[in-house]
């Protein structure tokens, strides 16, 4: 048996383990004493690797380049030469006819690695000539990035995962650590054991709420009102650190001007919380020697996400909980390399290392390094701009790497219309997905496990992961594919290793410069900024309370509360909020192909509902129900539980039959363009004929499964045989 050091390909916790291999087959994992995981793993880490063996539980692996010459025609397996030639000629054509900004690219926040993202954005900027490149941070922590950059200067977690257990107070706001990051949840549990106070702000009685000293079950959609009331209490009760505010922050007067009206008493009807609870929470937070705020999608996936992030940063600034150990604020990253895709500049407004495309000297530096005359200065499209831009004819081509927007974006009907409006869709991925069904060209890439590289964990930690399996012959590295297309487009690009790419990128990014491959070898862990090789990396940001804002001061910025866009009414009386579940990840193209994880949870997925709402609708626990919104209707299984608040239902977004994104609204934050996944008006309908409903789920599931498998010529024969009547 061989052992290869790896980093878990699922959430952003950055857990290290050995991937165990026998005869080029993955056979298990063995936890390693990594910096964030300390020898522990969750179920996805322990049992989420068998997709590497192409189990075909959900979908078959993509193994050969495929293309279709017209929409609706079946895919043909082609050679790499033909696929690359096809892509290059189509892209050239579109660029000539519509300009470079008619082409959209994505990075991948998943297994591809930092090097692949660096090359993808280089391809967009230097080869195509556009800043139209984005990654799925857009639909998760983009508001954290925008909000924290404006207030503190950097968009990442200020402190480290390991520090959490030594903080004196953890304020979890819209963050369900147990489902999203079990290995971060472990630190919260340890903090509690060590005597820390825990405060949870969440409408649901989530796992953390169970161990909390205070649980604030705010009404769905009232975040900004609560955060403003928190600030109001800190100031009116004199709980804030006057010296800190005077010395290290700016904007107090304008900030106070807004938050002064948000007294806890006045926001009671908005938040549904008693004023006393709000006051007590802030007394607890401000009373702790070191306090940490953690948040997740409960803060960011709103039409008003950026403002709430700024508000949370404000609480830390008011109390001086920044710039030192065991405190800070943490947007905990959901995908294993979503931090990395952002670090690498798979963003429409930043080069790698968060260097603004608006700065001429930055553009000049990259243009020189990449040997092009100039680089574009216009901010590119965001991922969530794609459907409308495509329908309006502004976008003609999309090159998607390792993402499944046809499953994960809001309002899937709109996404499909957008895809149909595009002239060219190139998909580079490892498994057949719903998005692949819209593609004109499919380029099969190597998977995590089959290549090496560097990931960035949620706390800015660079870690190397090593190749464990030899990929089959027709697979290529993501960066190799971009290189081949670039070369065919007349921009010779040939890298021979990820280290070569890494060296290029760290030489162009001052905060990453010292994080060399040697330093990251084995269990090496380097948190940026790391300006030179002798630097150990940075555990927590803003030492000496020097912020990286233009003035060097922390910015206190408040905003008035805005209600969610969708409105519940007689027809759609419940709020749908989309959430995570611990055993599945993202669109589930990986976890859905893992036997143990699929055994624990499979189609059509659950809709959790409070017993009172269920009783009123005549819905029994475990019964199949319809969930409908203005935009669509799907079936899911009811999970009747008191942990879910009355008036709201919750679904996870990885299911095909119970695809909650058929229901979600396309309403985005004006700054970060992140969708309001957390609030769509829906109704739940009981189904009388449960036998029919069970058959419907089975049939719908098997139809999608078979259509995806049958789209691949190599597996189509086997599928049609399997479908023959016995």
């Amino acid at each position: 048996m061989e052992k290869y050091i790896s980093v878990c390909p699922y959430c952003g916790s950055g857990c290290k383990f050995n991937l165990l291999v026998e005869n080029n087959k993955a056979v298990g994992v063995e936890p390693l004493n990594g910096v964030t995981n300390e020898g522990e793993l969750c179920l996805k880490g322990y049992y989420g690797w068998d997709f590497l063996n192409d189990t075909k539980i959900l979908t078959p692996r993509l193994r050969h380049p495929m293309l279709r010459r017209s929409r609706g025609a079946p895919f043909e397996t082609v050679s790499w030469d033909e696929a690359i030639g096809f892509v290059a000629s189509k892209l050239t054509n579109i660029k000539q006819k519509h300009g470079p900004d008619a082409i959209m690219m994505t990075g991948s926040s998943r297994g591809a690695g930092n090097e692949a993202n660096f090359v993808a954005q280089k391809f967009a900027r230097a080869v195509i000539g556009t800043n139209n490149v984005d990654n799925c941070a857009r639909v998760c922590h983009a508001p954290s990035m925008s909000g924290m950059m404006a207030t503190l200067g950097s968009g990442a977690m200020t402190n480290s995962v390991g520090e959490l257990e030594n903080t004196d107070c953890v304020l979890c706001f819209g963050y369900n650590a147990a489902e999203s990051h079990p290995i971060v949840a472990r630190r919260i549990v340890k903090a509690k054991q060590k005597g820390a106070k825990i405060i949870t702000c969440d409408p649901r009685h989530i796992e953390t709420a169970r161990i909390s000293d205070l649980w604030l079950p705010l009404k769905n959609g009232s975040n900004m009102a609560l955060v403003n009331a928190f600030a109001n209490v800190l100031i009116t009760e004199g709980l804030y650190n006057r010296d800190y505010v005077a010395s290290f922050t700016e904007g107090f007067d304008a900030y106070w001007d807004i938050v002064k009206t948000y007294t806890p008493e006045l926001v009671e009807p908005i938040t549904g919380l008693k004023a006393a609870q709000i006051r007590e929470a802030m007394r607890m937070y401000a009373g702790a020697k070191n306090a940490t705020i953690l948040w997740g999608m409960g803060v960011t996936q709103w039409g008003q996400g950026v403002d709430v992030v700024k508000g949370l940063a404000g609480l830390a600034l008011l109390t001086g909980n920044l710039g030192h150990l065991n405190a800070g604020i943490g947007p905990v990253r959901g995908q294993n390399n979503v931090q990395g895709a952002c670090d690498m500049g798979a963003l429409p407004d930043f080069f790698p290392g968060y260097q603004s495309i608006k700065k001429p000297e930055v553009r000049e530096k990259f243009a020189k390094a990449w040997n092009v005359a100039s680089l574009p200065d216009k901010v590119g499209f965001s991922l969530t701009d794609v459907p409308h831009a495509a329908i309006e004819g502004k976008l003609k081509a999309m090159y998607i790497m390792g993402e499944d927007p046809a499953q994960t974006e809001p309002d899937l009907d709109l996404v499909r219309k957008g895809f149909e409006s595009l002239e060219l869709i190139i998909l580079q991925d490892i498994f057949m997905t719903k998005t692949a069904m819209f593609a004109d060209v499919i380029l099969p890439a190597t998977s995590w496990g089959e290549h090496d590289g560097v990931f960035s964990s949620t706390d800015r930690g660079f870690q190397r992961f090593y190749k464990a399996l030899k990929p089959t012959d027709d697979l290529k590295h993501d960066w190799e594919i971009h290189g081949l297309i670039a070369t065919a487009l007349g921009y010779p690009m040939k890298y021979t290793s990820t280290e070569e790419i890494w060296n290029e990128l760290i030489s162009l990014c001052p905060p990453f410069k010292g994080a060399t491959y040697d330093k990251l070898a084995g269990l090496g862990y380097v948190q940026w900024p790391c300006p030179d090789v002798s630097h150990p990396g940075t555990k927590f940001l803003y030492t000496g309370n020097k912020f990286t804002t233009p003035s060097g001061k922390g910015q206190l910025i408040a905003a008035a509360w805005r209600p969610p866009l969708d409105k519940t009414d007689k027809n759609f009386p419940l709020v749908l909020c989309t959430v995570r579940e611990v055993g599945h990840y993202s669109c589930r193209s990986m976890t859905g192909n893992c036997a143990a994880l699929t055994t624990l949870a499979d189609e059509p997925g659950y809709v959790t509902i409070n017993p009172a709402d269920a009783a009123e609708l005549g819905v029994r626990d475990q019964a199949l129900v319809w969930i409908a919104s203005h935009r669509g209707k799907v079936m899911a299984r009811a999970n009747v539980t008191e942990r879910t608040n009355k008036g709201a239902v919750y679904m996870t977004y990885q299911w095909w039959v119970g695809a909650c994104n058929e229901l979600t609204v396309h309403h985005v934050d004006p700054v970060s363009k992140t969708p309001e996944y957390k609030y769509s008006a829906v109704r739940v309908e009981a189904i009388t004929d449960q036998i029919w409903a069970e058959a419907y789920v089975k049939d719908a599931y098997s139809k999608i499964k078979h259509s995806l498998a049958a789209a691949i010529p190599a597996t189509a024969a086997a599928v049609s045989k399997a479908l023959e009547p016995v």
């Binding site: 322990y46 063996n53 949840a185 549990v189 009685h205 611990v582 143990a596 055994t599 624990l600």
Partner: protein
């Protein structure tokens, strides 16, 4: 005293990593790809209420109701735990009904026998499943090993002695200021 798996609800995050570890540890092939919804038989189960998340499993009772209820003597006491000799289990489910913790489960699978070199079906074979502390596993109970928050422990004589000592101390200190009225 019998050893048993104790679950600490204050540490449990409800992730069910232990359930998979248990199912795999007791699967003959130990092959993850053999797991399916119909072939998934963990011997501990997550229980969730509004306030509690914890694993329900066997307490290895000293005077075990499952053992007492078994009509074929399949359930026996050895090596400080309650074990099952599957060859004697008839699947009567007396143990399931007798167990106050819901920790017993009876499963059945097609039985096979070999006759004249040919393997053939031979009715069904029942098995009474319960926690056996992974007695055949060198690294000890699989659930305890994988739990990321260390919410599961093997409670043996020493551990239970320590728990009692701590509880006695706490309760004594808590009540030290209370004076009897009489």
């Amino acid at each position: 005293m019998n050893r048993f798996i104790a679950a600490d609800s204050t540490l449990c995050i409800g992730c069910r990593t232990c359930e998979i570890a248990c199912a795999l540890a007791h699967d003959q092939s130990h092959d993850i790809e053999s797991l399916t919804p119909s072939h998934f038989q963990p011997r501990l189960h997550l229980v969730r209420t509004f306030q509690v998340s914890a694993m329900a499993t066997c307490h290895q009772c000293e005077d075990a109701p499952c053992l007492n209820a078994c009509p074929t003597g399949a359930i026996f006491h050895d090596n400080q735990i309650i074990q099952v000799d599957q060859s004697r289990c008839i699947g009567c489910k007396n143990c399931v009904i007798a167990c106050p913790f819901g920790a017993m489960e009876v499963v059945s699978h097609p039985a096979r026998r070999v006759f004249a070199g040919i393997e053939m079906q031979n009715g069904v074979k029942a098995e009474a499943h319960k926690c056996d502390l992974c007695i055949d596993r060198a690294a000890g109970p699989a659930c305890v090993q994988v739990c990321p928050t260390k919410a599961l422990h093997v409670m043996d004589e020493e551990a239970i002695g320590e728990t009692r000592r701590q509880r006695q101390q706490h309760s004594t200190l808590d009540s030290s200021t209370v004076r009897a009225v009489a």
